[in-house]
Amino acid sequence: MEIVVCVKPVPEGETRLRASADGASLDPEAVKFVLAGYDESAVEQALLLKESLPGSKVHAVSLGPAPRTEEVLRAAIALGCDAATWVDSGPAASPDPIDVARALAAALAPLPHDLVLLGKQAGDDEEGLVPAALAEFLGVPDVGHVVDLRWDAGRSRFTFRRAVEAGQETWEAPAPLVVALQQAWNDPRTAKLPAILKSRKVPIARVPPVALVPGVGRSQSVRFELPPPRSGARLVDFQTPEQAAEKLVKLLREEAKVFP
């Protein structure tokens, strides 16, 4: 099976966020960008499928600026991906998500792809738009909120579950398919040192930035703001549990006005 996994460099979980000098976007200085969250489970899912289906290949694709994008692709290779393509976004701070999908689709279309895996959203902008838009540009069906993706070789179909508000749905679909994964249900592996060293020598294909399509709706980030630091909880003082309950309910009703 030919698997493509799309990943995005995002700031490491605990990074302190700061606005750029013009206030329009995140200041990338002093931020460590990593392969994280949903993307990690997407890579893990790709590798699990590859291991269960001999002869499979996993190709990692990422769009973004240098050098962080190449770095996360190397991280993906160190984990076990076979090849990587870097779609150079140029220095643009926060491109339109649909433009991102368009550029990824252009880079991915010539690669063989029975399955395209993505995290359901990135941990930074949380748009969650790229998987479905990418699928549309590729002319392939997509499914989101997926967990536990398997290939039923006998019937030549993917089987998987979707976690939606109402519960767990079971689905099936033939290839090709674009899948956005719900969560790290699969406990992603970590790379071993020899693999990390080896990954530095693997060539990464670079695709130059694509020209923007004229005449379509497009958004750009104009402000990036951090909330004022929370002052900390107002603690309810009480003698008995009953008194705590009574005071809390009163605060929620009369002060916060959120009591249902």
């Binding site: 979980g13 949380e126 790229v130 679909a173 958004s219 309810v236 008995t240 929620l252 009703r253």
Partner: protein, 328 residues
Amino acid sequence: MTERVLVVGELLTDRLSGSTVEAIGAGARLAGGASSVVGFLAGATARSRAPEFGRYGVTEVAILEDPACEGAPVAALVTAVVAAATELGTETILLAGTSFGRDLAGRLAARWGATAATGVTEITRVGSTLELRRPVFGGRATETRRIEGGRAVLALRPHAFPSATEAPCETRLRPIVAPAVPELLRAAHRTGLEASPGGAGPGLAEAAVVVSGGRGLRAPENFRLVEELAAALGAAVGASRAVTDAGWRPSSLQVGQTGKAVSPQLYIAVGISGAIQHLVGMMSSRVIVAINSDASAPIFKVADYGVVGDLFQILPALTNEVRRVRGQ
């Protein structure tokens, strides 16, 4: 200029989803009145349920009576929504911010030549420019995006916009004739649904109130203390990863970085320490309450109200008080 706004409806078994009603309200403000909002419904019951839009002053509903739209990937819906938007000449489509809307937004925007945004909490229009605000980094920051003319598909964050006001009116139906969807795009299909336990309550993503329990509950059987408080409040139940990893409750209830992101009006965290991976899933809730025996637990730093105490004493008392006040 009266720009019409298309609101794609999400149908629950007995009503339009709360997020859809919020989208109608947001659309009415954007377009200068509910009568400039056009609803959209697809599925076998689209015709009979279109009047549900009329409750909120929406006078026209585009319908696609295609039973194949149910249990099929959204690709089947997109064609019809695009056909409706094109017919109406609208530039803006609003969607519920539930998984329904989030799944639809990307493909719809790609097909329609639009930009898109999800998790939107504010929309302002100046001339032909739209400005949106949306929380990013799990509520640790807010970004403002500007769309200078052109088409836009916006999925709204649940509870960020007030519901549309009720103003019952007659609705006109506009049946949509959509081109057939290529077989390939229909190939994925649902084979079953296993309703989540407590499926009778509101879904996590949509609930106005969420009560979440953590490892502080100590054992799976104690988790009912959380469920009882949630039931008294009409709230959805959530959990920390410590709880779902231990198998006390299914992973569909997990809130956080690797679970669901929620932004209810009221979030009550019980016996949850407040690890950053949990916080990013709930920090954009409007009001946060923490109940924890450890006064130095990080959850108190993001909470608005805190009770430092033993949850095994506080929870039953709180549930009783809620029942009393709500007249149950």
